[in-house]
Amino acid sequence: MLSLTDVVTYYGPIMALKGVSLGVDAGEIVCLLGGNASGKSTTMKTVLGIVRPRTGTVEFEGERIDGLATGEIVRRGIALVPESRRVFGRMTVWENLVMGSYVRRNEPKDELDRDMERVYGLFPRLKERAQQYAGTLSGGEQQMLAIGRALMARPRLLLMDEPSMGLSPALVDQVFDIIQEINRQGTTILVVEQNASVALSIAHRGYVLQNGQMVASDTAAALLKADDVRRAYLGEE
């Protein structure tokens, strides 16, 4: 469904991705592990066209998308739950969800209403707070709103950047339950995480990035057992 081949991306003079290749098949949850500044977020931004790869290709459903505008990539079915949520704090919860469906704004209203109800079904708290400013929500509620906003684009591939960051352990479990639920409902998921144990526990496969290079790729179960991954990302000596 998504494949990156030898992608090299620069941030100014810094080479952030040094030839990254990865693939995500339809229906999967794939997790991308790595420490700080390993290139995880840059990989996400490259897929969405926020930064452009210098060389290499990005393909989505068989067509090249590197070089397309971000809006066009979103229209083709990729949505992002960004790092640290980044909901529109000065807009209401409802308005944030409406912004999420921006690329579908010409579709019939009842289609959008149905998706809105589906998001409210996943996150009843959002329905209670529909008219509240997103900036007044708690961190956990903002994470739910960020996920709901991305779902409003009705993506076939959902990119999630550090969904566990800054959440309490109980909330982290809740968020990952919801990620699994979204996947069961038919959305493919590529999730970037520092919290490797939780991410690998729900993922089918995983990749490990280090200094902009892919250093490991295996099934989630195998990565959970691999010694170097345990040492580096699960905090075990």
């Binding site: 529109f88 704090g89 921006y102 704004r105």
Partner: protein, 313 residues
């Protein structure tokens, strides 16, 4: 002192009328700042060109049929072309004078200096094509001198009421647009988080262009109203009017739409108080004292929040 108090209500009404017009111009500064974090110093010149277009339309109509001009149909004929032309001019400035700079990663200073250049360019373009001498607005043919009435002992001209009504209507239309439409939501999204707005699929460049259109159109309308009020316009009128509206935007909190309106009103009233209690010659001194005091003691303005407040969770 008794004399002063007798003219105070009158002055306050003038202040209110001027204040709503300052608010209209201030909206252009504040909306552009909201989406681009730049001060469009050419906005005063857009306002000036609006005044020239209104003057031109009125002059042509007077040529065709002296007498029989009723503001009910003449005023829209002056306002609409001024707004459309100024809107287009604002978009053109953004596209050719600012975007080439910020799109290539120039610092905020780049577009700002380009705006100062655009301001000088537009002043000179108007001077060369229209001449350096003042143009006289034939306001009397539209709003005869005796169109005035007393409210609670205050003598008010119809023109002043029209200025207030037109400004308030335009502000109301803008607020509805920003609060309730897809374009308005897109503008708010871009001004809050440009990158996330793009991730929603919004064409950020187009939204920035539309923001320039709206802000500049309001500036053009304000130019027509000010032309009618002062009856004399020239190619440098945008400079001081622009600085005043900029002060109003800063006073209200730059980037904040409600702030621009309130800041404009406050500034208009403060000016009228200065005229009444100090000396008409001190009007501009007071304006810039307000600007300096705001920047020193409350740089975020009345309604402005510092960005950090919203990023904290």
């Amino acid at each position: 002192m008794g004399d002063i108090l007798a003219i105070l209500p009158q002055q306050l009404v003038f202040g209110l009328a001027l204040g709503t017009v300052y608010g209209l111009v201030a909206l252009g500064y504040t909306m552009v700042y909201g989406v681009l974090f730049m001060i469009n110093f050419a906005h005063g010149e857009v306002f000036m060109i609006g005044a020239y277009i209104g003057w031109g339309v009125l002059a042509v109509l007077l040529d065709w049929s002296v007498g029989g001009l009723h503001p009910l149909w003449v005023l829209p004929l002056m306002l609409v072309p001024a707004m459309l032309f100024c809107g287009g001019l604002g978009m053109t400035l953004e596209r050719f004078a600012y975007r080439p700079l910020y799109a290539r990663g120039a610092t905020r200073l780049g577009p700002l200096i380009s705006a100062v250049g655009a301001s000088i360019f537009l002043q000179n373009a108007v001077m060369l094509t229209q001449g350096a001498r003042m143009k006289v607005y034939m306001t009397n043919f539209l709003f005869p001198r005796d169109w005035r009435f007393d409210i609670l002992g205050v003598n008010i001209s119809v023109l002043v009421i029209v200025m207030i009504v037109v400004s308030v209507l335009l502000m109301w239309a803008l607020v509805v647009l920003v609060q309730r439409t897809t374009l308005g939501r897109s503008i708010r999204a871009v001004s809050e988080d440009r990158e996330m707005a793009a991730v929603m699929g919004i064409n950020v460049g187009r939204v920035v262009g539309m923001t320039f259109f709206l802000g500049s159109a309001l500036g053009g309308a304000a130019g027509v109203l000010i032309g009618l009020y002062y009856t004399q316009i020239d190619f440098v009128m945008g400079y001081s009017a622009g600085l005043k509206a900029f002060t109003a935007a800063v006073l209200g909190g730059i980037g904040n739409i409600k702030g621009a309106m309130v800041g404009g009103l406050l500034l208009g009233v403060i000016e009228s108080l200065a005229v009444t209690f100090i000396n008409p010659a001190f009007k501009d001194v007071v304006t810039f004292a307000v600007l300096i005091l705001t920047l020193v003691f409350k740089p975020e303005g009345i309604f402005g929040e510092t960005l950090a407040d919203w990023k904290k969770v």
